[in-house]
């Protein structure tokens, strides 16, 4: 077969133009990092969600009931809510607050609040027009608990209240006969007792955050850094006081782990659906606690780049043993960089003198009480204050 020189020339020109157009398009896509059409791609062609992400704009997780099924505020509502937020930020962390309708200054809880106020860091100054992160159900609120879950959670609350009974942070009454009872669940709360590490709260024990992470607002609200490889996506969450962790999501079509394998952060299995990363997470353990859901939690996480500077992080949580129906929430995270938002290593076990300090000092207080040199620790609020309880 003979190919004419003219045909070859035309072919070469068309091929060159095509390659040029492809390169141009790819460059535009990489530069724009935008949604579908301009979606940035990794070197191996996957949607590029990489970067450091956080949020400086406050959106409440659940919608205040006044907004009904409205997902956004009016201008007037927004102006008022923003002014209120700014007023609230001006208030000191203590002194102005009451506890149970009485001035709380000087109580153990008040001191704990003041002490912990520092850790809260920067307060949010920007307020979204969105009335809630929860988008489904339509009222923007986490669905009601099942009767079984309501009882389970109420039982735990009663146990916590019993151990606070008679203290400045609890209801009136004598030291509860339940003082030495075991916790009704795998404990992650601050029990007003320090007989062993398991009496203390998850953050005190360096448990680290769970799944899914809902980032708080501002520099102390947390930041996540996402990096990708062809077969996995890794998200590092820098949150709290060493509560951060690195979460590796395999991109795979393997089934979930056998049901008898239970993990604090579950078993994540990731896949790409177009430009969206979908992560299905099951196999949680009884150490998991996401808004009352424990080992039966099922989370579907969806991450998508809305544009160059916005990462949409949506999760659907379901657990028929906890909620009457599934619910979905969305956070919109902003692109930031290492200069403005330093990402620091989490993990607090090595430096956690606090946990031993809590136990040692409670023993010291008990000894002092036995020797008639101090109050009975059981009559003091050694649990609340500062946000976790």
């Amino acid at each position: 077969m003979k190919i004419s020189a003219r045909f070859l020339l035309v072919f070469a020109l068309v091929a060159a133009a095509t390659i040029f157009a492809l390169i141009q398009g790819r460059t535009r896509a990489l530069r724009s990092g935008g949604g579908a059409e301009g979606q940035a791609r990794t070197a191996w062609g996957a949607p590029d969600l990489q970067g450091i992400w956080n949020t400086n704009t406050f959106v409440p997780l659940e919608r205040p009931t006044q907004y009904g099924t409205r997902g956004t505020m009016t201008e007037e509502e927004h102006a008022k809510a923003l002014a209120d937020l700014q007023d609230r930020n001006k208030r000191p962390g203590r002194d102005s607050r009451d506890i149970g309708g009485k001035p709380g200054q000087g109580t153990e809880k008040d001191v704990a609040r003041a002490y912990n106020e520092f850790w809260f860091g920067d307060k949010p100054t920007k307020l979204s027009y969105r009335t809630s992160m929860v988008t489904d159900p339509p009222d923007g609120r986490i669905p009601p608990l099942t009767p079984e879950a309501a009882k389970r959670i109420a039982d735990k609350r009663e146990f916590l209240a019993a151990l606070l009974q008679g203290t400045s942070g609890g209801r009136p009454g004598p030291i509860s006969p339940r003082r030495n009872d075991p916790s009704p669940d795998y404990n992650l709360d601050r029990i007003n007792r320090s007989d062993g590490p398991e009496d203390r709260g998850g953050p005190e024990r360096c448990f680290g955050d769970g799944v899914p992470v809902v980032l708080g607002t501002g520099t102390f609200g947390g930041v996540m850094q996402l990096v990708q490889s062809p077969d996995s996506v890794s998200i590092y969450y820098d949150v709290g006081q060493g509560s951060g962790y690195s979460w590796v999501i395999p991109i795979t079509n393997r089934p979930h782990l056998p049901a008898n394998v239970r993990l604090y952060r579950g078993d994540p299995v990731g896949r790409w659906e177009g430009d969206m990363l979908v992560v299905d997470v099951t196999n949680f353990s009884d150490e998991t606690n996401f808004h009352g859901s424990r080992e039966n939690l099922h989370v579907v996480l969806r991450l998508k780049r809305d544009n160059a500077n916005t990462l949409s992080v949506q999760f659907t949580a379901e657990d028929p043993t906890t909620w009457t129906k599934p619910w979905t929430a969305t956070q919109e995270l902003e692109k930031t960089d290492e200069k403005t938002t330093l990402v620091l290593e989490g993990g607090c076990h090595e430096g956690n003198y606090g946990l031993t300090g809590l136990l040692i000092n409670t023993r010291a207080a008990e000894k002092a009480f036995r020797e008639g040199k101090g109050p009975d620790p059981a009559t003091q609020d050694n649990a609340t204050g500062g946000g976790d309880n």
């Binding site: 409440p60 009931t65 006044q66 907004y67 505020m73 509502e77 008022k80 002014a83 209120d84 001006k90 000191p92 962390g93 203590r94 102005s96 000087g106 153990e108 001191v111 704990a112 003041a114 002490y115 912990n116 106020e117 520092f118 850790w119 809260f120 860091g121 920067d122 307060k123 949010p124 307020l127 601050r190 709260g201 953050p203 005190e204 708080g216 609200g221 947390g222 820098d238 709290g240 006081q241 620091l344 989490g346 090595e350 430096g351 956690n352 003198y353 606090g354 946990l355 300090g357 809590l358 000092n361 010291a364 207080a365 003091q380 649990a383 609340t384 204050g385 500062g386 946000g387 309880n389």
Partner: protein
């Protein structure tokens, strides 16, 4: 008026959950609010930049001239860094004024509440009226 009240209630409700709740531990189980300590002459000997808290080790000159070694619990490294507080701020030899609450077991450990650097800059947050960073905003 009623409309204003509803708007105010709605505004309050939407900001009510604004404060992040990631506090670390119960203060009272470890430290004694009735045993405040203040060291006018403390010299840094070592900083431990660890999570969940940094620890400032200091040599304190007591009123009778004796020296005592104390360890002061301070903020988490990421909060300190995000407030512009770097590793160079508390090098060994830095003279600081520090106050806080002593541990219940009587050891030379305390929870730091306010720290004043040689240039007069005050760090950490105490109760209202301390001039701490939060209150200056």
């Amino acid at each position: 008026m009623r409309r204003q009240l509803i708007a105010a209630a709605a505004a309050l409700a939407i900001t009510a959950g604004a404060a992040p709740v990631r506090a670390h531990h119960a203060f009272a189980a470890e430290f004694d609010a009735k045993q405040p300590v203040k060291f006018e002459k403390a010299v840094v000997t070592k900083m431990e930049w660890t999570n969940p808290h940094t620890w400032i080790h200091v040599d304190v000159t007591m009123p009778d001239g004796r020296k005592e070694a104390w360890a002061i619990e301070a903020g988490t490294p990421n909060v300190l860094f995000r407030r512009g507080f770097t590793k160079d701020a508390l090098l060994p030899g830095t003279a600081i004024v520090i106050d806080g609450y002593r541990a219940k077991d009587g050891s030379h450990r305390a929870n730091g509440r306010n720290l004043t650097l040689p240039n007069g800059q005050t760090l950490f947050l105490g109760s209202s009226g301390t001039g701490a960073p939060e209150e200056k905003r």
